[in-house]
């Protein structure tokens, strides 16, 4: 029976079982070959010449996928796979290469991250296995979260963040009538409460200098303040740049182009080193303040351009309609234009916010140590030399979680405000 089949021909539906089993067999052979080769150093095809030997998994896999490429096989799963990842010889090779790369890399990665990693112990010497030394992170964890903030006062940071989270969660559940007031409270009042609680100096709380703040909590503090501040500033800059009054327009353009033109590092240096020189004697402004203001203005320039993009996308008819109903400049913009423009640029706004969060580690250059800065400090500690990788992987994972949640939230907003169609 096998003799009757031309194997170079297109696999047909009539001989489904035959083609299917041969295809699966060859494909699995390819996978097994790669797995043994890369993970166990065993080469089952060593009897082939060397050049051929190197490509055997690819050839097996390729042939296997060729025989599996049965058109209208009747099997839903198989049809779906064929149309998506095995539609022609080029796609089948890409598919194979991706699978091979995954096979080669995922197990070692898992080994390092989890299976061979060290979790138990308190010192560097406890890290005996070949994997990552998570003890490093465990021991330094409080520092990575709170920086050099005194241990006895940590409850202040915890309390303020728990308050913040509670309020934000409450935002989703309280009736719409009260929502407005809670948002106003969150934006205009709460930052001061939070700041006072953490810095202390009154209400019998010990004063803690901002240079002692650090770790992930500092990342959050800077991000939250900068996010809240840069949004309205960017909005006004965007409106200013489209204003018909020359003074407003040119000062907005000048501001935006200046801040977009300089690197953030320079801005931070200026804020921390140069700026105090311009202040009159006796006037002192905290370094953290200066840095937050610098980051805010820097990101506001980007925000302005994003929002301007949305403003430009709106048809002139919207302005005409709002004007013809008797709305002045501010009502027209606040009620009609901005709600639509902002909705259009949610992805761009999210982009700027994510960039802002990921820019915060740069404050390292002016001596403020947020998460990445603390890791830099920890890895140079004589007791814990040589664990930079663990630290940076940890920071990477945390940043990814933060940014991914923000990105998901922006997608939700997009869906929520989608009113056309």
């Amino acid at each position: 029976m096998i003799k009757n089949i031309n194997f170079l021909r297109k696999p047909s539906r009539e001989k489904f079982n035959l083609f299917f089993s041969i295809g699966i067999f060859l494909f699995s052979l390819g996978l097994i070959d790669v797995t043994l080769n890369s993970l166990f150093d065993v080469n089952i095809t060593s009897f082939f010449p060397r050049v051929l030997n190197y490509f055997t998994p690819l050839i097996f896999g390729f042939l296997g996928l060729h025989y599996l490429r049965i058109e209208f096989s009747g099997n839903k799963m198989l049809d779906k796979l064929n149309t998506n990842i095995n539609s022609n010889w080029f796609n089948s090779i890409l598919t194979l290469l991706i699978i091979f790369v995954l096979i080669q890399n995922i197990p070692p990665l898992l080994n390092w991250l989890i299976i061979d990693a060290n979790f138990v112990g308190t010192t560097k010497e406890d890290c005996t296995d070949s994997g990552a030394c998570w003890i490093f992170i465990k021991i330094w964890f409080p520092r990575l979260m709170y920086g050099l903030y005194p241990n006895t006062e940590l409850w202040r940071i915890n309390t303020s963040f728990i308050m913040l989270i509670t309020l934000v969660v409450a935002l989703f559940y309280i009736p719409i009538k009260l929502k407005k007031y809670l948002i106003i409270f969150l934006i205009f009042v709460f930052p001061f409460i939070m700041f006072n609680l953490i810095s202390g100096g009154n209400f019998g709380l010990e004063w803690i200098e901002t240079t002692a703040w650090g770790g992930l909590s500092l990342t959050f503090i800077i991000s939250i303040f900068a996010l809240i501040l840069c949004f309205p500033i960017g909005m006004f800059l965007a409106l200013g740049r489209r204003s018909s009054a020359p003074v407003t327009r040119y000062s907005s353009i000048g501001f935006i182009e200046f801040w977009r033109g300089v690197p953030l590092i320079t801005v931070l240096f200026m804020a921390s080193v140069m700026f105090p020189m311009f202040l009159p004697d006796g006037v002192y402004m905290d370094k953290l303040f200066r840095v937050i203001i610098a980051i805010t203005l820097f990101e506001a320039a980007y925000m302005a351009e994003v929002i301007r993009g949305g403003l430009q996308a709106l048809p002139r008819g919207q302005y005409d309609a709002a004007k013809s109903l008797g709305m002045g400049y501010w009502r027209l913009h606040m009620l009609v234009i901005l709600p639509q423009a902002l909705k259009l640029v949610i992805p761009g706004i999210a982009n700027t916010f994510l960039a802002l969060v990921k820019d915060t580690p740069l404050i390292l250059v002016v001596g403020l140590l947020e998460l990445v800065g603390m890791i830099d400090m920890a890895k140079t500690n004589p007791d814990w030399l040589g664990f930079a990788t663990e630290g940076y992987v940890f920071a990477g994972i945390l940043f990814w979680i933060i940014c991914y949640s923000m990105s998901r939230y922006s997608q939700r907003l997009e869906k929520k405000y989608k009113t056309d169609r």
């Binding site: 004007k323 008797g326 639509q340």
Partner: protein, 244 residues
């Protein structure tokens, strides 16, 4: 003179070097219904957009309901609140429901309490027969429904004058009638209306006077019957022969 609600004297307007309006003189009495027609590019839309200052005139004088249009923003906003306008492209606010479209300006410009504004809006929506669509968004409505909603939105400001800028030109033929019907009803209610349109049937039924414009000038202005029965100007005759 004082009984005229709109007075335009020697109004001139340029777009760059191009003169769109040339020495326009126009007077409209309260409750008068005027249809403006003419070939495209003749300045009809610009003329009525000057009345609520969506376009600025550079020379001449426009007085609406006793208030002269100048740079004064307060005056302009007051006139705009008294003059409703319906556009070719509807221009509903797509982020708001039909009801919110209708209540937005009454609440924020005229400071009417929300509940009262909604009551008024529902009444207007009933007038144009789309009260059942109040909770929907503009994108979910047909063109004819959207235009009627736009009409209701303008009426919610309780204007003294209504301007229509080719209200049926962007509509499919089968939807034109429903919009025109709503406009006829409005006319019967005694509204002052200036309508730029090519719907000559509507003009015959509703208009007191018809204005024919060409190249930025008012070529002919006559009572409706007179206008259609024996137009005086050659250009008017040519235009009418082409569209009737």
């Amino acid at each position: 003179m004082s009984e005229k609600i709109i007075q335009m004297e020697k109004v001139n307007k340029w777009f760059g070097d191009f003169q769109v309006l040339k020495d326009i003189d126009l007077e409209v009495a309260p409750k008068q219904k005027i249809v403006v027609c003419g070939p495209s590019g003749s300045g009809k839309s610009t003329l009525i957009r000057c009345i609520n200052r969506l376009e600025e005139h550079q020379k001449g004088k426009i007085v609406v309901d006793g208030i002269e249009l100048t740079e004064n923003t307060k005056d302009i906003e007051q006139i705009r609140a008294e003059v409703g306008m319906v556009f070719q492209q509807f221009n509903l606010f797509p982020h708001l429901s039909i009801l919110d479209n209708c209540t937005l300006a009454p609440i924020w410009v005229k400071k009417i309490p929300k509940l009262k504004a909604e009551e008024l809006a529902m009444k207007q929506l009933e007038q144009v027969k789309i009260s059942d669509q109040a909770k929907k968004f503009p994108g979910q409505l047909s063109g004819g429904q959207q235009q009627r909603a736009a009409l209701a939105r303008a009426l919610c400001m309780e204007p003294k004058i209504m301007l229509f800028d080719e209200p049926t030109s962007a509509l499919d033929p089968e939807m034109i009638k429903e919009v025109l019907d709503a406009m006829v009803n409005l006319a019967k209610g005694g509204m002052t209306m200036i309508v730029v349109t090519h719907e000559m049937g509507f003009a015959k039924e509703v208009a007191d006077e018809v204005i024919f414009m060409d190249e930025g000038m008012i070529v002919e202005r006559a009572e409706t019957k007179e206008f259609f029965a024996n137009p005086k100007n050659d250009r008017t005759k040519l235009f009418l022969s082409q569209i009737l």
